[in-house]
């Protein structure tokens, strides 16, 4: 099977969907001619293949990029626009939250907004807090949106294709740390359903719910714990909203223990939602307190030792596991 970085998988999904449907176009800052000419990036080569009519480089204007998507989607096109880095979501957030997410409702269901907003996220590249700030919890708190955060290249390809074909606005968040990890990806055209989590590792002693870049941390920690005879079940959400409560609850019912692992800061992070769902619907299964393993409540610092301190790792996860086992 082909091995691709997550960016390449995204690239393949974009390419296949653009070939399949002439209404799909992409727009954003540097999605055509970008400062990176590396094949590992999501939009490399698409301008050459599809031309400037369907691959639109835009000015540095995040609100207009999002507005472009909203207006074009209403007309029946399938825009896939890019917001370069997650912190700049703020600049597009009025269009996304007050418009993409609400205009269908406001029209009484008459108008639809089938658009995808791709956003690059993740700490770990030393750029500091104005480039690294995981804000998935914002989008996940907004009815009318779907929020997708793939942790593997294979999921990225299948989920992005589903997102593009979905008739609702979808926020598709890509962790840049995964762009350079080579992972197997099926060649064929396939759809990974939105709203379905996946058990990335089965286990009976402990449930770790995670997503995006943190899956790797969970898998490594699970290996270590396994050598001590502790079997961790890893639930990769893949989609934050709609949230797959069934898979989470079934896992906790089996293990009785829950850790939520995310890179975003702790307070107000989406980990709280997982905790609440389990506390409401899975209370009886719980044998131990919750642990959240997350970024601390600070902006992402630039200096390597500080940034490393920020990013949750295996040690943090294993420590948390020991506390509740």
């Amino acid at each position: 099977m082909q091995k691709l970085g997550l960016g390449q998988a995204v690239n393949q999904a974009l390419r296949e969907e653009m070939l399949r449907d002439p209404n799909v176009f992409i727009a954003g800052e540097g999605v055509g001619v970008g400062i990176h000419d590396s094949p590992m990036f999501p939009t490399t080569g698409l301008l050459d293949e599809f031309g400037p009519a369907r691959v639109k480089d835009t000015p540095v204007s995040e609100a207009a990029i999002a507005g472009l998507a909203v207006g074009a989607a209403e007309a029946g096109l399938r825009p896939v626009v890019e917001i370069m880095f997650n912190p700049f979501f703020t600049l597009a957030s009025d269009m996304i939250v007050n418009h993409a997410a609400k205009l269908r409702y406001l029209s009484g269901g008459k108008s639809s907004f089938p658009l995808v907003v791709r956003i690059k996220t993740g700490a770990g590249f030393g750029a500091g807090c104005q480039h690294s700030h995981n804000l998935e919890a914002w989008a996940a708190h907004c009815p009318g949106l779907k929020v997708v955060m793939p942790a593997t290249s294979a999921d990225a390809k299948g989920l992005l294709k589903s997102a593009i074909r979905d008739d609702n606005p979808v926020i598709f968040i890509e962790h840049m740390g995964l762009y350079f990890a080579q992972m197997p990806v099926p060649e064929e055209d396939y759809l990974t359903p939105l709203g379905k989590a996946e058990i990335k590792r089965p286990g009976k002693d402990l449930t770790v719910v995670t997503w995006s870049g943190m899956l790797g941390v969970a898998l490594k920690a699970a290996e270590t714990l396994s050598r001590e005879g502790i079997e961790t079940e890893i639930v990769d959400l893949r989609t934050l909203t709609p949230l797959d409560r069934e898979t989470i609850l079934a896992s906790v019912e089996k293990t009785g223990r829950l850790i939520v692992l995310h890179e975003a800061t702790r307070t107000g992070g989406f980990g709280g939602e997982i905790a609440a769902v389990v506390m409401e619907e899975g209370f009886k299964s719980l044998k131990a307190p919750l642990r959240r393993v997350t970024g601390p409540d600070i902006p992402v610092p630039a200096s390597p030792p500080l940034e490393k301190f920020y990013i949750p790792d295996e040690t943090d996860l294993i420590r948390a596991a020991r506390e509740i086992l």
């Binding site: 204007s61 472009l68 007050n98 409702y105």
Partner: protein, 320 residues
Amino acid sequence: MEISEKKKKEMLWTMILSRKFSDALVDLCKIEGKIPGMMILSTGQEAVGSGVCAALEPNDVIITNHRSHTHLLAKGADPREIMAEIYCRKTGCNKGKSGTLHLAVPEINAPCTSTVVGASLTIAVGRAFAQQYTKEKSVTVCFFGDGAADEGSFHEALNLAGLWQLPVVFVCENNEYAGAQRYEEHTRIKDVAERAGAYGMPGTVVDGNHAQAVYTATLAARQRALNGEGPTLMECKTYRWRGHGESDHQHYQPKDEIKAWQGKCPISRLGKELIESGTITDAQFREMEFKAEKTVADAVRFAEESPFPEPHDALEDVYA
């Protein structure tokens, strides 16, 4: 340019209809609890919506804002459906989800409306991009106020529309106020139209109380857009007779200023001209007013007889 009598009568009719529609709402708003939410009217500004929409074809798109009634009626919306939505009834054009502030009428190509000031501009850019992308022979008209011209979205939208030469007409309805703030208190330039130059597009200042002038300017801008020559910023100078909303007592609006502008009523103006030119008779004018009143009364009756949506209907229409 010679404007056909038919067009002139059409504009007169949509202005009268819109005025009667507003007048009715003014009275209805005085009845405690009759109409939910904020009531924002365009009394006195009718020539803009009527003049612009008279120059459009059915497949042309309009993206309007919080002050939308004239725009929608002039584009051909059903007064019953709009009034029922203003009443927040199940039979409203948006099933009561919107109310008066974001009336969307896809059937007449007014597919989505935002009450977020400035939002109509970037959405219109996207809608116009789709027209360019699909090589459809139609344009998008974006309505916004003078206050909206200070929002960042105005800038990003016009820059992109100019850059890509999109088929969009930006219609700034300068009614001298943004909320309680006078025009000269929110920006330093004389005309919003001056900003067109900052995006490489033509800017025109139009008498917004003169339906024919608005109509002619729109025709030209529309043709330009269809020719692939790009967008136009069209500023229509007019005035807000009433408060920002019906709960606003206009304490900051000089009485004589209001009076002076009421003297420039766009309806009397066109009406007088059509009567003097013999296009219509005095009686026909009164007949139009009467018909408009009946239409509005019927819309109000329809709305009041319509049921409210069921509480659980709130859960519908979030996702496709």
